[in-house]
Symmetry: C2
Subunit: 84 residues, 2 copies
């Protein structure tokens, strides 16, 4: 099995109200010193042992299904690959 | 600035309908060989240069604000730390 992880985050210029809400709540739980909170999605894909071309296939999935290119960037990392 | 990343994923035994929907859509876009899709959250926290005890503070944030311990696990990684 080979695991590929896609991180999908809002582009830096796009406001993140969910992150802002967490940032605003931090002083109430006694945490100071955080300057920014951004919240995105982490997608874990498990490929079969005999799958090939994982990064290219994952790019297709991210482009078509996982990320909105108008407001989001994504980053692909092949996290673990066991030889079959 | 020091960046800490919190990955929040559903526990393995919890059904992930969003991931299942993506998995079910893959053959329609010509991708085969994926056996599992799980979708969670990626939270990026930027701490000020003079912040200390980042991992302990991040654990407090994750416990109290970011993850629901009944159905979710989280993993903390200190991604980048520039010396002030």
């Amino acid at each position: 099995m080979a695991r590929v992880v896609v991180d999908v985050m809002l582009k830096p210029e796009i406001l993140d109200p969910q992150g802002e809400a967490v940032l605003g709540a931090l002083p109430r739980i006694g945490v100071n010193g955080v300057s920014s909170v951004r919240i995105g999605r982490r997608v874990e894909l498990d490929f079969d042992d005999d799958a090939t071309d994982l990064e290219r296939q994952t790019r297709i999935i991210a482009d078509k299904l996982l990320a909105n290119p108008v407001i989001e960037d994504f980053h692909i990392s092949v996290a673990a690959e066991d030889a079959a």
